[in-house]
């Protein structure tokens, strides 16, 4: 393998793949960066086996030549040394070549490094993209989708499948669900009609992956292509591939959990409710579950209260737009409620209760995409 490359491009690419490399891996080869050269450019790969990031540097872009003198080949080099070497080289161009003994020579100006590498065949083989199973999303939409669901995944490993977000596509409708069995967040968006024939079921993406992905995607108008292979999901931008393993198992059926009728309906300002609950939870934090109590009063007033005998008590009144239906007293976790309200950007929120012992639904008033479910806490 041999190539001459612009150093800043290589540094940028290294920074991308380093995000996936962890020093605590079980198989030794994953402590390295895989570098592959072929006639169209250079590809760098980093992985911690859960997520893998591939970064591609094209030979030529918009008429600017990035890489010269490419000879095909591949190698794996230690991620501990390679990035630092490249960063500190004197010139703006770097020549990199390898020999049969997996030794890499790095030349730039007067400096010459020889770095021992490993056979690239030892590196895990990442699945190759299959285009028939893919769809495109705008970057900012994907970031929204992640933000609106990933907070609800379970953090305990007792039911590992719940640590992921379930993705479904049917009839050009993309649906994401996350639940930790006490609360549930789901969001549905319509895809263009081109995807009518696309169908995905039971694709469970680890929550950790989505959090990482969210950091990596740039907040711009570009779009990202998502495809699923047998055991991995691939998010592809122009020069970056982000792969993740999926969670193995069947995601529980969640559509049945969502009640279709309601006995009490509340329409209120999102912000004032969120702030009231936030204040009420100040005293509730001490007690075990961070529980607050909600009560409907006359004249469209909600009373939110919390009582921790050792600390004190708090009562908040929220004037709502509208309260319909039966009177209600219900208790729930303030944290779950705040998590749910925080992701709602709309000014008004609609909450549907079906009695004090049944889960209730939170929806933005003018947005049918988002739906959240919280189970109440039994108090006496």
């Amino acid at each position: 393998m041999k190539f001459v490359i612009q150093r800043d491009l290589l540094i940028e690419s290294i920074q991308h793949v380093m995000k996936a490399i962890s020093s605590r891996v079980t198989i030794p080869i994953l402590t390295g960066i895989k570098i592959e050269a072929n006639s169209s450019g250079i590809k760098l790969t980093g992985s911690d086996s859960d997520i893998s990031i591939e970064s591609f540097i094209p030979k030529e872009e918009d008429g600017i030549i990035n890489i010269e003198e490419i000879e095909q080949g591949s190698i794996v080099v230690q991620a501990k040394y390679f990035p630092d070497i490249i960063r500190k080289l004197p010139l703006n161009t770097v020549e990199i070549k390898t020999d049969d003994q997996f030794q890499m020579t790095i030349l730039s100006g007067g400096s010459e490094f020889h770095l021992n590498g490993q056979d690239a065949a030892e590196y895990p083989q990442l699945p190759v993209l299959r285009t028939e199973n893919s769809f495109d999303l705008k970057n900012d939409l994907l970031k929204d989708l992640i933000r609106q669901t990933v907070f609800a995944v379970s953090t305990v490993e007792t039911r590992p499948i719940l640590t992921g977000v379930n993705m479904q596509i049917n009839n050009a409708e993309l649906n994401l669900v996350a639940t930790d069995s006490h609360r549930l967040a789901t969001v549905t968006v319509q895809l263009p009609d081109d995807y009518l024939n696309l169908s995905f079921n039971n694709i469970v993406i680890p929550g950790k992956t989505l959090v990482e992905l969210n950091k990596i995607i740039e907040d711009n108008e570009n779009s990202i292509s998502i495809s699923v292979t047998e055991n991995q999901i691939l998010f592809q931008t122009e020069h970056l591939n982000f792969l993740s393993r999926l969670l193995d198992g069947n995601y529980p059926e969640t559509s049945r959990l969502i009640p279709d009728q309601s006995k009490t309906e509340v329409l209120t300002k999102t912000k004032s409710l969120l702030q009231a609950i936030d204040r009420a939870s100040l005293l509730a934090k001490e007690n075990r579950n961070n529980v607050v109590k909600l009560e409907t009063k006359a004249n469209n007033v909600l009373e939110i209260s919390s009582n921790t005998p050792e600390v004190g008590q708090v009562t908040e009144e929220v004037i709502t737009e509208q309260i319909d239906g039966e009177e209600l007293k219900i208790s729930f976790s303030a944290k779950y409620m705040m998590d749910a309200l925080k992701i709602i950007q709309e000014d008004y929120v609609r909450i549907n209760f079906t009695g004090a012992m049944r889960p209730f639904i939170i929806k933005p008033a003018e947005n049918e995409q988002i739906l959240q479910l919280i189970t109440p806490v039994r108090t006496f």
Partner: protein
């Protein structure tokens, strides 16, 4: 020893079982392979893993040349998880890591294998966690547990594994092989007895250290008979110099053990079983000094010494005590 065929020389029954299971595609979800040191547990385990991962196997025999086979050898296969004791035991965290690993899909395919060496060293916590997913195996996951100590595996784990017991090594077979390679009968017997497999036995033949160790054992026994006072000096000056770390000390004790076993064999006239055939005359002389009952006592003392050594008793003390016990 790389193919099933080669392995079947030492473990014909186990290999046949495993091979048939692979050919007929009836691989169980968990195996517990147990056998003495050197019976080829790890080799069998790795072979089984290769047979499951190999891309172009035929007749249950992995090719040993494809990427998967090569990566299993180098420890770089992403879907093979090899758990080894971390220090003195296999910790709960290691099993937790494994558990996390198996809630994910495989990196390359859905086939996953985990291999646990010295499974008896799992802490109770670790074993119980493992149990949880031995009970609910996911589809293409195979567990391979290896142990030398079958008795200390939890019953609940045993009952969920297909158990494969390996035959103890047949010293006779190693011995004849060595003899056919031109090693004298006397030496071949000794090498075969004290080593764990053919390769190791061959290495012993070249080993200066071992030759010296053997000489020291004979000298020690000689001194014990002739000159009581010098024995402790000998231990201090020569024995402990030569057997410097714990493994070597254990090995030295093994050699003395074989010697006294020989005495008993000689006494009951089972000359075929002798290990130190080369020192037949010395052995006969010893019989004048130690009776059969004495020899039995000494053997018990050696076993105690070995145990003490494992409990971190200072080696000098262990050897001195043993010497005093061996002097009648």
């Amino acid at each position: 020893m790389k193919t099933w065929d080669a392995l079947s020389e030492i473990q014909p029954i186990a290999v046949n079982m495993l091979k048939q299971m692979i050919i007929k595609q009836r691989v169980a979800h968990a195996y517990l392979i147990y056998g003495d040191k050197g019976t080829g547990k790890a080799m069998l385990g790795l072979m089984l893993a290769k047979s499951l991962f190999c891309q172009n196997k035929h007749g249950g025999e992995p090719c040993l040349a494809c990427v998967n086979c090569r990566r299993i050898d180098s420890g770089n296969h992403p879907d093979l998880h090899w758990i080894r004791p971390d220090g003195a035991s296999i910790k709960k965290e290691q099993i937790a890591h494994l558990q996390k690993e198996f809630t994910y899909t495989g990196l390359e395919s859905n086939q996953k294998v985990y291999l646990i060496t010295q499974a008896d060293l799992m802490t109770t916590n670790a074993a119980n966690r493992l149990l949880k997913f031995l009970e609910e195996p996911s589809q293409q996951t195979t567990a391979i547990l290896l142990t030398e100590n079958y008795q200390s595996i939890l019953d609940t784990i045993k009952s969920r594994c297909q158990i494969i017991s390996l035959k103890p090594l047949v010293t006779q077979r190693v011995q004849t092989r060595l003899e056919s390679e031109g090693i004298s009968k006397e030496n071949a017997r000794l090498f075969a007895s004290v080593s764990q497999n053919l390769d190791q036995a061959r290495a012993l033949n070249q080993d200066e250290w071992f030759a010296q160790a053997r000489k020291l054992v004979v000298q020690l026994v000689g001194i014990l008979q002739a000159n009581h006072g010098e024995a402790l000096l000998f231990i201090q000056k020569q024995w402990l110099q030569h057997f410097s770390d714990r493994e070597q000390q254990n090995f030295g004790l093994d050699l003395i053990l074989y010697w006294f076993k020989d005495l008993i064999y000689l006494d009951i006239d089972q000359k075929d079983s002798l290990v130190f055939i080369a020192y037949y005359e010395e052995l006969e002389k010893c019989l004048w000094h130690w009776s059969r009952a004495d020899a039995t006592k000494v053997i018990y003392a050696i076993m105690d010494a070995k145990r003490n050594l494992n409990y971190n008793v200072h080696p000098t003390l262990v050897m001195e005590q043993l010497t005093l016990q061996m002097q009648r």
